[in-house]
Amino acid sequence: MSKTITIDGQVIPFEEGQTIMEAATEAGVYIPHLCHHPEYTPHGSCKLCNVNVNGRTCSACTFPAMEGQQILNDAKDINEERKKITQMLFVEGNHFCPSCEKTGNCQLQAVAYHLNMLDDHFPLFYPHRELDASHAEVLIDHNRCIFCTLCVRASQQKDGKDVFAISGRGINKHLIINAESGLLKDSELEATDQAAHVCPTGAILIKRTGYQVPIGERIYDHTQIDQVSLNSENIQHDN
């Protein structure tokens, strides 16, 4: 008999070595997340996937599934706190959805809709952040970076490069580029790199491809992020 965990009353089998997130996704249970991506080493930093495991708060993307765990995920108070964490990500940067090319395809926006986020709630920080348009094909708008490190991991783990890193401390942390000049044009990044396509927000965009799909016909305009996420992540898993 295989081992099981229980999420919101649903009994879910898992294999030794799987995280709670992996077991849940396979069973078709969505746990909201932004810094997690099934193809990369889990990071555990955005904390949207925090679940209650036997009374303790744990990040589902990094915490191992263990026999008999009683897990609360889709609960009102947990989702309420997830909404607050999402609001924190919004106020920390400069996210103006109506003027962002990523709108409708943005995971930050989609998670916010999923969690029924209707306002920023917290006072905005309005940080001063730069835009790096130096690269011929790829653009970085630091205003939209949420420090998920997916580009960092994709560059290292998929592209065999080391183009991005996170530097600084606390609220001053920021994404940096591995080039003597610090500019994207002097890095090894190419538009075909995984790292250029993995950004969940509009922080990294491919130039001259904007608005090819009209607003209203984009991924999350029609389907909630939980469905999109479960479908794509399970397809990736099956492959």
Partner: protein, 592 residues
């Protein structure tokens, strides 16, 4: 520069784990980390320049732009505030002709704040080029100003400026009877290693950093890990504001601390140990290296220790200004030459620690106690204290009391006894365990020093009736926002939101809903954060809000709502451009 860096990296054996050592030396030499140095170090260590950039921007003592040849930092701990830090900083600014946070135009001197330097019993304190300055006053500032303006090298400064006293006031079980060097190791090998671990188990010793994990259990778990190498780490990164006991233990009981580490190594099968010394304790570095050399000479470190066919050595690693490195997994990252970001757990350090090897990380005091227990046996220790807290606890007492300093008490001692002993009267409350601990009011002084009641890593700050609690809370809340590593959202954003929200209330801009919003935010930061820093960052607000809700309410305006956006403030640029400051150029946000 090329030759200097080349030589430096070579001395560090081209080890990326030594990045902090290397950067400390570069910073000391050039007063910043030049870009060319980053490029050269990256090439020589075969690591990316971004890793080096990350480390530089993470630690407070590294800089990408030049600091003064004399870099002066003033301790910004609440304990320094109580001793007149603000007036002192203003006087320094005036005398040195440089503003806080700036470098003087001639590049000779820079001035800035720094987190608690661990001289809370002899402040206001500071650092000059990393070396501790104690009991600063106007006369000393005058003296320092002259020395700087005459460009006297630090070696030529009067020793009195750097005088750091132990202020050891109450000794008990451990501090009254230090063991002779080698005694713990001899006892352990004579008794048998297994039996000695058993004695440690009987002693009931729990980790002295504050979390209180049972020491024997940790050592046993680590020893059972199958690995060619095990590691012992002594956490001497005591950054909790108000704590300075490790400074005294390393100044006067270092032999015994190193002996405790060596004992641990014998019990878990380690050959390599590290003392992670906070950067603020640079003044202890040479002395500690000398003691290590002495122990090697005496056959207590190195090869074939006490002729027991046992090899072990200890390396000292200096931190560079980051409170988070007191968290054990962040400390391990830092030891590996990286940013001090707490790891995801599991795995825990006892199975995957330094470079993935099984690692024991313990507090300075824990190793000190373990060495004594190895000599005197488990019952000697367990006979003292309470049911769940055996032995004694060493406290760093400071703030409003006649005799600040080090006090060792049996666990189970009540707070009133401690206050009487240190000469504290007219007390408003005590911060137990530092900002991450608990604020108790003067109605709670019958409570006990013990894991089952008031747990503490050793910080004990007394406040008298003249003090304003909100000033204290404000200092602590700013501290956490400054020290958050930024890894997880709830702490990175949450501690800054807490800071801003508390400022709003303290500055008199809070309205009816603001205290409720503050408390709600506290709960999220506490519950959702990745590590102990975030999980305790809201404690100063929560523990005082619980005890003095009226203090917070009294700060609020009598209106139902004030926006976070300052409309009148936003017009400042327009007023400046229009050269207007008449009534018509101001807009009231809300009718009051």
């Amino acid at each position: 520069m090329t030759a200097f860096i080349q030589d430096l990296v070579e001395k560090n054996h081209y080890q990326p784990t030594h990045l902090l050592h290397i950067l400390r030396a570069v910073q000391a030499h050039y007063h910043y980390i030049p870009k060319d140095a980053i490029e050269q170090i990256a090439r020589l260590l075969a690591i990316s320049r971004t890793q080096i950039m990350g480390v530089i921007e993470f630690y407070s003592f590294f800089h990408l732009s030049p600091r003064g040849h004399y870099e002066i930092l003033i301790s910004d701990s609440i304990t320094d505030h109580l001793l007149g830090k603000h007036e002192l900083a203003a006087y320094l600014e005036e005398k040195l002709n440089v503003k806080l946070g700036e470098v003087r135009a001639d590049g000779l001197v820079s001035l800035d704040n720094t987190s608690c330097t661990g001289l809370c019993d002899q402040g206001p304190a500071g650092l000059v080029n990393g070396y501790a300055l104690s009991r600063l006053d106007k006369a000393k500032v005058d003296q320092i100003t002259d020395l700087i303006n005459q460009q006297t090298p630090l070696e030529g400064w009067p020793q009195a400026l750097f005088q750091v006293d132990d202020n050891l006031i109450r000794s008990d079980l451990l501090l009254s009877a230090p063991i002779p060097a080698g005694a713990a190791l001899q006892s352990a090998f004579n008794r048998g290693l297994k039996e000695t671990l058993n004695e440690l188990d009987i002693s009931g010793l729990r980790g002295r950093g504050g979390a209180g994990f049972k020491t024997a259990t940790k050592w046993k778990f680590c020893s059972e890990e199958l690995n060619d190498e095990h590691i012992v780490v002594c956490n001497a990164d005591e950054g909790e504001p108000g704590t300075f006991k490790d400074r005294v233990l390393l100044n006067s009981y270092a032999h015994q601390v190193f002996e405790g580490m060596t004992l641990c190594a014998a019990l878990i099968g380690a050959q390599q140990g590290f003392l992670y010394l906070r950067g603020e304790y640079l003044h202890l570095y040479d002395k500690l290296e000398a003691i290590l050399a002495e122990r090697r000479q005496a056959g207590l470190l190195g090869q074939n220790i006490v002729n027991a066919d046992f090899n072990f050595d200890i390396e000292i690693c200096l931190g560079a200004g980051a409170y988070i490195c007191g968290e054990e997994s962040a400390l391990i990252e830092s030891l590996e030459g990286k940013m001090g970001i707490p790891r995801n757990r599991p795995p825990y350090p006892v199975t995957h620690g330094y470079l993935g090897k099984p690692t024991v990380v313990n507090n300075v005091e824990t190793f000190l106690a373990a060495a004594s227990i190895a000599v005197n046996g488990g019952n000697w220790f367990a006979n003292i204290g309470t049911d769940k807290s055996k032995g004694t606890k060493i406290l760093s007492i400071c703030g409003d009391c006649a005799q600040p300093g080090i006090y060792e008490y049996p666990f189970g001692t009540d707070i009133q006894t401690i206050l009487d002993d240190c000469g504290a009267s007219d007390v408003l409350g005590v911060q137990i365990g530092g900002p991450s601990g608990t604020f108790i009011s003067n109605k709670e002084f019958s409570r006990l020093l013990a894991f089952e009641d008031l747990a503490t890593g050793g910080s004990f700050i007394v406040f008298n009736q003249q003090r304003n609690i909100l000033d204290v809370v404000n200092n602590f809340t700013h501290f956490f926002a400054h020290e958050s590593c930024g890894f997880c959202t709830p702490c990175r954003v949450g501690t800054s939101l807490l800071k801003n929200q508390l400022d709003k209330i303290v500055d008199g801009h809070g309205s009816a809903g603001d205290v409720v919003a503050l408390e709600e935010l506290c709960q999220i930061v506490k519950k959702q954060s990745h590590c102990g820093l975030g999980q305790t960052a809201a404690n100063p607000i929560l523990t005082t809000l619980e005890r003095y809700p009226e203090l917070y309410q009294a700060q609020l305006k009598k209106i139902s709502y004030e926006p976070g956006f300052d409309l009148d403030g936003a017009l400042e640029t327009a007023r400046r451009l229009a050269k207007r400051d008449d009534a018509g150029a101001h807009l009231a946000q809300v009718e009051e």
